[in-house]
Each structure stands twice: as structure tokens, then as C-alpha cells.
């Protein structure tokens, strides 16, 4: 670190009345960075990996030591973080919208059906089973758009398919980081990214934004906000004003651990996961946006989903099935997506923090909405009562990340709209 900057930082922190700062900044130390420079979390980075039960990732025989032992030392390990369903897509959808699984998203929408019913029930859930969510179903990106908060989805390999390469975008001065259009199948058509090829390991079903009309119907908006990771992410991280307030990061099918022997000949699985994180976590942590007020969340979409391990279908936080799901089970063979765990790293979190409280993808959405002062959507709202003074009941509803996680400093949250 530049000496002058360090000095300035210390002066600033002293002025803010914060003391006890030992492990200062940078990516070299084991700590989750310095004490935050503001009271609010301003930049959230969500990284979603694929298909590993908690025991596989965080157990003693882990094949991902960086994720399982290094990262928790820098932040917080959430031991009881659960996925909300099986297979992949329904989990991603729940993270960004609070919508529960349905029989089509449970099957990863290999055909992109567009046939939801028009009704939305009292839990904010659209009725029917389908893939494309209409404009009437609000999701996180819509909330950001309405509130003027910046966001991007960074999708590794998206646009490797040459047909998605837009030469006009490539030549555009206004969008130098992304020559590729946001990647989705035609509505009603077949998703051709259900299995990887050697030069394209993008998976539409791991990119939840592609299932919302409010995003994909506005092509320039979609192209600007859902971009190829390698085209844009490192560049965007260089300056605070180009780093989105919310970044949703999906590695390709090799680096997210989905494939164990990858289509391009690489080793995937937990090895791929560690490779990705070892590359990108230091880059994120070195970014000015992270150091100012960042929060990194690394989790999985679902557990290993092995029928022989009934725990892989466990649920938490009051998750319930509906008649739109196969046998009323969000997890197809059971009530949920299984325990996957999560690691959170932030200046607001003391390194080595462990939380045993129950969380799931709806809790994640709720926590992000806390951070940005947004209404809780769908199941994220569950159990919420206006002006509630009683503590959130983790076994009965999705709860926000609290002092169990923000162990260094509880951030302050902007006011949310009244319920």
C-alpha cells in the first residue's frame, strides 16, 4: 500500500473515531480488509458456485482449501446457509426475486416457456409454472433501476457463442467493455447452453436475469447490465464510480464447479471453484469500492443433490412447497435445496467469524434489500410485520444478516419503504 494513502486513511479513521485497526487494507493479509470507510455497505458482490453440499465444500476432506479454510479466516462462515430448491435455475431466481421454484424452473427451463398465469398471490408469488417472469413480478434489478442504483451481472463465457457478438457494440464508445449481447434463448425456444462446449461454457440457467421480461425486453438495458465477465469485471473494479453497487458473478460451468471434467479439458469441480476464487477474490478485495464499503458473498445455488443423502433436500427458514412444484417439494425429492454454506467477507466483518444461524437464498435477497433500502420481495418478505420489534425467527422465516455476521461493525441501512 502506498504510504501516503495509508497515512491519509489512518487520519480519516481517527477522525471517524475508530480505533484498533491492525490489519490494514490490501489483499496480502488474512483479514477482510480494513474497517469500513462509511457506515453503509455500498458495494455487494455475489458469487454463486454450483452443486456442492456443505460437507463437501467445508468438510475436512475438502478439495477447495482456499474457499473452505482461507476465505472464512478473512470473513464469516455461515454454517447453516441453505439453498431453496433443485435443480439450478429455481435457486438463482429465488436470489434475485424471492419467487419460489416451479416445476419448469426446477427442470432448468431447457425450453423457455412463457406461460405464467396472471395471478400473484398474497405472498407475492406468481401462479403457474413457466420460465419467463412477466413485468408484473418485481425483481431486484427492477428495484435498482427504479432507485437509481447501479448493478451488473458478470457472466463468464457469455457471448463466446459468436452469434452473440455484436460488432456495433464492440465499436461503441459508450460501451467499451462489452461487445456482446446479453445471452438468452428465444422465448419459447430451446436453451442451447444446457451443456458446455469447449469454447462456450456459459449456462443461461445460471444467469437469472435472462428470465425476466423487464430485463430482456429492453435490449440496450440488458446488454449494458448483463455482460461477459472477462470483458468487463476487472476494468469496472478499477474505480469506485465504475463498480456497480451490486455485482452478480457467475463463473462458467468449469469454474463454478458444475462440471468436474470440463469441456475445454480443464479440471473443474472444487478445484475449478478454488481456481476462480483465487483469481478473483484478491482482485475484488483490492478494489477501491470493496475497500470503501464492500461485501463479498460466496455461496452455492444448490447442494450436491444426491438422492442417497437426504440432507441434500433440507430446507430452512420456513420454506414451504406449493402445488406448482413437483409433489409440492421445492427440492423435488424434499423440502429444499440442502445445506450449502456461505462465506462473507467485508470490512464490516471480523475475520474468523462463524454464524450458526439459519439463512437461505431468500435471506440473501432480504439482506441485499436491507443494504440498499429496498422493499422485500416475494418470500424475502415472509414473516415480516411492520414495525416489528421482536427478533426475526430464523427457523420460521428468512432473516437478514445481523450482528452475528457483521461482527466488526453493524452497518446502518437506509430507510426501506413502509411494508
Amino acid at each position: 500500500m502506498d504510504k501516503r494513502f495509508g497515512l491519509a486513511l489512518r487520519t480519516l479513521l481517527a477522525a471517524l473515531g475508530l480505533v484498533g485497526l491492525a490489519a490494514c487494507g490490501g489483499s496480502s493479509g488474512a483479514g477482510g480488509g480494513s474497517t469500513p470507510q462509511t457506515d453503509n455497505v455500498g458495494h455487494v458482490f455475489v458469487i454463486v458456485m454450483e452443486n456442492k453440499s456443505y460437507d463437501k465444500t467445508f468438510g475436512p476432506d475438502t478439495a477447495a482449501p482456499y474457499l473452505a479454510t482461507q476465505l472464512p479466516k478473512m470473513g464469516a462462515l455461515l454454517e447453516n446457509y441453505y439453498a431453496t430448491g433443485h435443480a439450478s435455475l429455481d435457486n438463482y431466481i429465488s436470489m434475485v426475486s424471492g419467487q419460489g421454484p416451479n416445476a419448469d424452473t426446477q427442470a432448468d427451463c431447457a425450453v423457455v416457456f412463457d406461460s405464467f398465469l396472471s395471478n400473484i398471490d398474497s405472498d407475492g408469488q406468481i401462479q403457474g409454472l413457466s420460465c419467463m417472469y412477466p413485468d408484473t413480478v418485481p425483481m431486484l434489478a427492477d428495484q435498482f433501476r427504479a432507485a437509481g442504483i447501479s448493478w451488473k451481472g458478470y457472466m463468464q463465457d457469455m457471448g463466446n457463442d459468436p452469434s452473440r457478438y455484436d460488432s456495433a457494440l464492440a465499436a461503441s464508445d459508450t460501451r467499451p467493455q462489452g461487445p456482446r449481447t446479453c445471452g438468452h434463448a428465444a422465448i419459447g425456444g430451446v436453451d442451447n447452453t444446457q451443456s458446455a462446449t469447449a469454447d462456450d461454457q456459459y449456462a443461461m440457467r445460471h444467469n437469472p436475469f435472462m428470465y425476466f421480461h423487464s430485463v430482456i425486453d429492453d435490449q440496450p438495458y440488458c446488454d449494458e447490465h448483463v455482460v461477459n465477465l472477462d470483458d468487463a469485471f476487472a476494468e469496472d473494479l478499477k474505480r469506485i464510480d465504475t463498480t456497480p453497487a451490486f455485482s452478480f458473478i457467475t463463473p462458467n460451468l468449469c469454474d463454478d464447479g458444475h462440471d468436474s471434467s470440463c469441456a475445454d479439458g480443464e479440471v473443474g469441480g472444487l478445484t475449478g471453484i478454488d481456481r476462480f476464487l483465487q483469481k478473483w477474490i484478491p482482485i475484488i478485495m483490492a478494489s477501491p469500492a470493496y475497500q470503501k464499503d464492500g461485501l463479498i458473498i460466496v455461496t452455492y445455488d444448490e447442494s450436491s443433490n444426491s438422492a442417497s443423502n437426504s440432507g441434500d433436500m433440507d430446507a430452512c427458514c420456513g420454506e414451504k412447497g406449493t402445488g406448482w412444484q413437483l409433489l409440492f417439494k421445492p427440492g423435488i425429492l424434499g423440502p429444499g435445496g440442502g445445506r450449502v454454506g456461505a462465506v462473507l467477507i467485508s470490512p464490516f466483518i471480523k475475520p474468523g467469524t462463524v454464524s450458526t444461524l439459519a439463512y437461505n437464498h431468500y435471506s440473501l435477497l432480504r439482506s441485499v434489500e436491507d443494504i440498499f433500502g429496498l422493499d422485500y420481495l416475494g418470500h424475502a418478505k415472509e414473516g415480516n410485520t411492520a414495525n416489528s420489534v421482536s427478533p426475526c425467527e430464523h427457523d420460521k422465516q428468512p432473516c437478514s444478516f445481523g450482528t452475528d455476521i457483521y461482527t466488526r461493525q453493524m452497518p446502518s441501512f437506509p430507510a426501506r419503504p413502509a411494508d
Binding site: 416457456f113 406461460s115 409454472l129 443433490n305 444426491s306 438422492a307 406449493t322 413437483l326 409440492f328
Partner: protein, 471 residues
């Protein structure tokens, strides 16, 4: 209403003999002659006097109706059953090409077209009794209708055939699609030939039970069944508190809280996507086996098992080949007025009886249909038969075993389950695209979408009508 004036008791036997004689005379080719290689499968049981209903030892009748498979398609592997030799089957397609029966090695067949199973399609398949039109409603090059499965593909049914009773002459109520046949299961008649959303106004089994102070319950696998029974049978269904989600069946069975009559429907909404467990294409049939095994397990471990009879059947043939020409049966005046239904029963479908009062390792050769089940329910609980087949459809109780003591043996079956089942439908379709003409590909896709719209439309109508699914 007493038990003896219901017309579903002894008179059934007398009439039935005539009916059977008629069938034997007109449909002899169908293989009544080939019956009976298993020792105790003679038709004598049909003439046995039944016990007094109250003393029958059957207090709980559970009916699970699956979707869209024919008998030959599923059970050609059963020794002693009347079946076609499917691997030797040859039928003409609409280009005049000869196509052979094929053991299906895929449990979903996403790249194939859901076979036509409409009222008119059924008559094309029938071809005036020649039973050779099954490929004429299918895109050329698509052999799904004459594909078949074997024991290893159907591990639950393998266990049932070895341990309980398989009926090899069970016809559906009408040679037509889902809804009219489901109406037959609930009411013994229909007032439509299509799956259009309509309201049913005739008495149902639920009305019959209510009328004699007996309990009935309907469990739905997803909201498709809920909407069908809640909306279309409004005023004639078991009532809101007795229309329950399938998950509740498992807990009700575990506590022994079984109604007198229980109907269970599988999940049907995901048919087009391949995620349902009702066996309707493009469902993964392994998921159907898992569901049925779960129901069986729930019942055999229930405190009510000793007095329970489980029947598994199918709504209709789904466009799949069967070699037996279905006979005719009476229809009500109301049904004829509304539909013009010619009374042709639907092609044979799988039907099984499971329970302590069921013959073991047995093939029941008698002709039965949904009204046979309704006639048994009416006989057991004492109400008038429904529809027009109270005397012509043999009381299902005749295939049971009332001579022996109840046999409580009910072994567990080895039915594997895996989260990968029913997941991969359309990547198969996309990878098969290059092997098809654009027209055939479009037709496959159209048929995939058809049922999604049908079921979703029904649920939408129920929600629009203000019905609220229990949460």
C-alpha cells in the same frame, strides 16, 4: 337407502354372464382363449357370492389414477397376461411404411411426439376394430406409439405383479382424452368428449358417499387436480376440507386417518416440460414408479392397512398401442345427448389391485372398467350405482379374495429414486432437432406445449373463479 336395493350386488353376476358371453362371441380374437396360465386365474371367482359389504374387510378404498399408458405398452412382459408380442409388432405409418415395435430405452422420450389421444384419434387407432391405426396420427418417423417397456423399466410394477393382482382386461370409461375419462372415474359418466373447461352437473361418487354419511377425500399431486375437482366438480366434490394436497395423504395414512374412499391424482402440470410424475408423456416414468411406491409404502405401514384396498389405474391409453378391441357399454341418456358418445370403452390400460384382500401373484382376467370400481364403492358403502353401467360393469370386488384370511404380507419393493429423473427433457429435444424435418420438430414442440396450456388454463379458470388453493 339399504344395501340390498342398489343393484350393484347379486344382479351384477347374472347380467355379467351374458355380457361376457357376448364379448367372447364378438371379440374372441382378443385372446380370452389365451387366458389363464396362472393357476387361480379362472373366471369362476366372478360368480362367487360376495360377502356382506360390512363384513368384507374392506373399509378403505384408495384409487390412484395415472395418465396415458396402454396395457400392451407397459405389460407385454407379464407371463400369463393377454398381451401382444410387442417386439414382433409391425404397423403401417401414414406414408405406408412398415414400422416395428421397439423396446424404449429412454424413460421420457422428449424428442418424440406425445401420441394423439383424442376422441377422434382413438377411432383412427381402432380402425373399425382392426387395431392398426396407432401410427396414423403420429408424425412419420416417430415410433413412440408402438414402443414398449419391460419389467426392469418398471420396478414397482414388477413387485406388484409378483405379489398382488394385475387386471389384464381393464378398459377405460370412454375412448377419448383425459377429462372425460376422469369424469368416468368420479361419476361413471361424462358430459363432454374433450378437455374443454366445463362444469359437471351429474352426481359423483362424492355425492353418493355424502348421501349415505360416508367420507370421501381427494388428494391432488399439484394444482391441476385441485382445479379439476374444485372447479369442474363444484357442488359435486368432497368439499374443501376433503380436497387435500398429496403431502397430507402421507401424514393421514401414517396416522391411520383414511377416508372410506380416497382418490389420489399425481402431478400433471409439468407434462409438457417432462417434470410431472403422472406417466403422461413426457414425464419420466421412473418418477411415476417412485410416486406409486411411496403411496404403497404409506399404506402398507399405515395402521389402516389391514382393511385397505389400493387400486392403481390409468385414465386412458395415451395413444399407445393395445391389441384388444374395446367393447361397447351403455351410456346415460344425458351423456348421449351431450356428447353423442357411441359407448365404445377406451383401450385397455394398466390396472392393479393391492391389499390384504387381494389375490397374490394373480392375473384377473375379467372385463372391468371405472364403473366396476364405482359399483364396488356403491356396493360397499350402500348407495345407488352411478351412471348407466351399474349392472353391466362387474363389481370390482369380484376379483378380490374373500375366502382366505386377510394376508398382511406386503414386501418393500426396490424402486430407485434420483434427482436426475425427469430433468433433461428438452436438451434431448434440441440435440435431436437435426435428425428431424422442421415440420416434425414443430409438431413435437406443439404437442409438448398443448398440455401445459390445457392444465394451466384450468388452474387459471379456478383462480379466476375465486377458488383459493389451501396453503
Amino acid at each position: 337407502m339399504g344395501n340390498n336395493d342398489n343393484g350393484a350386488g347379486k344382479p351384477v353376476d347374472l347380467t355379467r354372464r351374458k355380457v361376457l358371453a357376448g364379448i367372447a362371441a364378438t371379440a374372441g380374437a382378443a385372446g380370452l382363449a389365451a387366458c389363464g396360465s396362472s393357476g387361480d386365474s379362472s373366471d369362476d371367482s366372478a360368480t362367487q357370492p360376495l360377502p356382506e359389504p360390512e363384513a368384507s374387510g374392506i373399509d378403505h378404498i384408495v384409487v390412484v389414477m395415472m395418465e396415458n399408458r396402454s396395457f400392451d405398452h407397459y405389460f407385454s412382459w407379464v407371463p400369463g397376461a393377454t398381451t401382444a408380442n410387442m417386439s414382433k409388432l409391425k404397423l403401417l405409418d401414414s406414408d405406408g411404411g412398415t414400422v416395428s415395435g421397439r423396446h424404449l430405452t429412454d424413460y421420457q422420450n422428449c424428442q418424440l411426439a406425445d401420441p394423439d389421444h383424442g376422441y377422434d384419434g382413438g377411432r383412427t387407432h381402432l380402425n373399425g376394430g382392426k387395431m392398426d391405426g396407432f401410427l396414423l396420427t403420429q408424425p412419420v418417423g416417430d415410433d413412440f406409439p408402438i414402443g414398449f417397456y419391460t419389467a426392469d423399466d418398471l420396478p414397482f410394477y414388477k413387485g406388484v405383479v409378483e405379489n398382488f393382482t394385475l387386471c389384464d382386461r381393464y378398459f377405460t370409461g370412454i375412448l377419448g382424452p383425459t377429462q372425460p375419462n376422469r369424469y368416468y372415474m368420479h361419476a361413471g359418466q361424462t358430459d363432454k368428449k374433450s378437455n374443454d373447461i366445463t362444469f359437471f352437473s351429474q352426481p359423483t361418487v362424492w355425492d353418493g358417499l355424502k348421501g349415505v354419511g360416508r367420507s370421501g377425500r381427494y388428494y391432488y399431486g399439484d394444482l391441476a387436480g385441485w382445479a379439476l375437482v374444485s372447479l369442474e366438480f363444484a357442488g359435486h366434490n368432497p368439499g374443501v376440507t376433503n380436497i387435500r394436497p398429496y403431502s397430507q395423504f402421507l401424514s393421514d395414512a401414517a396416522s391411520g386417518d383414511l377416508a372410506d374412499v380416497t382418490y389420489i391424482d399425481p402431478s400433471m402440470l409439468g407434462e409438457g416440460a417432462g417434470t410431472s410424475n403422472d406417466d403422461h408423456p413426457l414425464a419420466d416414468i421412473r418418477k411415476g414408479q417412485v410416486l406409486l411406491n411411496e403411496i404403497y409404502d404409506a399404506l402398507r405401514s399405515s395402521p389402516a392397512w389391514e382393511k385397505t384396498l389400493l387400486i392403481i389405474n390409468y385414465d386412458e391409453w395415451g395413444g399407445f398401442y393395445d391389441h384388444v378391441e374395446p367393447p361397447f357399454a351403455p351410456v346415460t341418456y344425458e351423456e348421449y345427448q351431450a356428447t353423442g358418445n357411441d359407448g365404445r370403452l377406451g383401450f385397455r390400460v394398466p390396472c392393479m389391485a393391492i391389499g390384504p384382500r387381494v389375490k397374490r401373484g394373480h392375473i384377473a382376467k375379467q372385463q372391468i372398467d371405472p364403473n366396476s370400481i364405482l359399483n364396488m364403492i356403491a356396493w360397499r358403502f350402500g348407495f345407488a350405482p352411478l351412471g348407466a353401467r351399474g349392472t353391466t360393469s362387474m363389481n370390482f370386488a369380484h376379483i378380490l379374495d374373500f375366502k382366505s384370511a386377510p394376508n398382511l404380507d406386503a414386501p418393500a419393493f426396490n424402486v430407485p429414486d434420483d434427482a436426475s429423473y425427469g430433468q433433461s427433457c428438452s436438451s434431448q429435444l434440441s440435440s435431436a432437432k437435426s435428425t428431424m424435418t422442421p415440420e416434425r420438430y414443430a409438431e413435437v414442440q406443439r404437442r409438448h406445449a398443448e398440455h401445459i396450456e390445457e392444465w394451466q388454463g384450468l388452474v387459471q379458470a379456478a383462480l379466476d373463479a375465486g377458488l383459493v388453493p389451501p396453503n
